[in-house]
């Protein structure tokens, strides 16, 4: 059904009669090994060179083909995202249970560690100049009143002054955790990761170019 491979009309550098006795398989292997060890016969044959160049070009455009494909095969609606979100939910990384005190017999109230870590991330989102990457809460979360430490890894941007941004963020973390939980935060450590990202470090897709 799908073997509608076009009839060879246009000449191609990979046509068997143009390969100077080499095979496409052989030339592909040679290319795969980075043209090493050097094969003088292949290197001396213009036909083989021509074929190698074509194979290299094809390899180079492969990622672009997938990009074009992505447009054709793009999901037709966004349901697929909510279907996945429905499956994973909020609780997958809930972590430990942090008690919330309530003076009623039989009441067992808590906030999940995951929810508190989300609060820490959001404190970062509200602070200009940094993005929170990783969060961790150390200490005995399950015993009310025990001291806990919050550890955060952030990225700051080139135009932000760490000395100003970091203390502001630390304050916000303490504030939000105190507002929403009964935890006693004694310390917020902030490790700054890649503090010198500038526009030039990012490619067109916004990814780190290095």
């Amino acid at each position: 059904m799908t073997n509608t491979t076009p009839e060879p009309q246009t000449p191609s550098p990979l046509d068997d009669n143009k390969l100077d006795g080499f095979t496409v398989d052989q030339l592909s292997d040679y290319l795969d090994h980075g043209r090493h060890p050097r094969n003088p016969a292949i290197e001396a044959s213009p036909a083989a060179q021509h074929a190698l160049a074509a194979l290299s070009r094809l390899r180079a455009v492969a990622p672009r083909i997938m990009k074009t494909d992505a447009e054709y095969f793009a999901p037709k609606n966004e349901n697929w995202i909510s279907r996945i979100l429905d499956q994973i939910g909020v609780q997958a990384h809930a972590g430990r249970d942090i008690p919330i005190l309530h003076d009623v017999p039989g009441a067992k109230l808590s906030i999940s560690e995951g929810a508190v870590r989300a609060l820490v991330r959001e404190a970062g989102d509200d602070t200009d100049g940094l993005i929170v990457e990783r969060t961790r809460i150390d200490g005995d979360l399950e015993t009310p009143g025990s001291p806990v430490q919050v550890h955060v890894v952030v990225s700051t941007f080139a135009d932000a002054t760490d000395a100003r941004v970091v203390p502001l963020f630390q304050e916000r973390v303490i504030e939000t955790v105190r507002e929403h939980t009964d935890l006693v935060v004694t310390r917020v450590t902030v490790r700054v990761h890649d503090s010198d990202i500038t526009d030039e470090d990012l490619d067109d897709d916004g990814n780190l170019a290095r």
């Binding site: 909510s82 979100l85 429905d86 499956q87 994973i88 939910g89 909020v90 609780q91 997958a92 809930a94 249970d97 919330i100 005190l101 309530h102 009623v104 039989g106 009441a107 067992k108 109230l109 808590s110 906030i111 999940s112 995951g114 929810a115 989300a118 609060l119 959001e122 507002e179 929403h180 939980t181 009964d182």
Partner: protein, 111 residues
Amino acid sequence: MNDDTEDDLPTQLTRLLRNVDGVHTVYATKPLLPSIVGAVVEAVRNDPVGMHLVTVNEKPDDLTIIACIGVSADEPATVICRRAHDALRNYFTDQDLTPPATVRVQVGRVG
């Protein structure tokens, strides 16, 4: 949804929690897809009818209610959590039912 229908207890408690001030989501407390360990489905997007988000464990003389909620960040999560707990407990007093021995409410998300 129609309040006149004879909903079972978990469904009624779910509806009650959704109406508590500051509660924006009621999460399922049991994995609905056994193939995914620890998965809990957020029910807002789904048809909540017939889905047991609040768990009711009924043993003789030992009724346990388990709920997991998402709350607004406008008030302390602790306050909303206690309010949700009280609402669950009051449901039993108001209906003259045997009160549960244990009411567990977990905040799974703030904001």
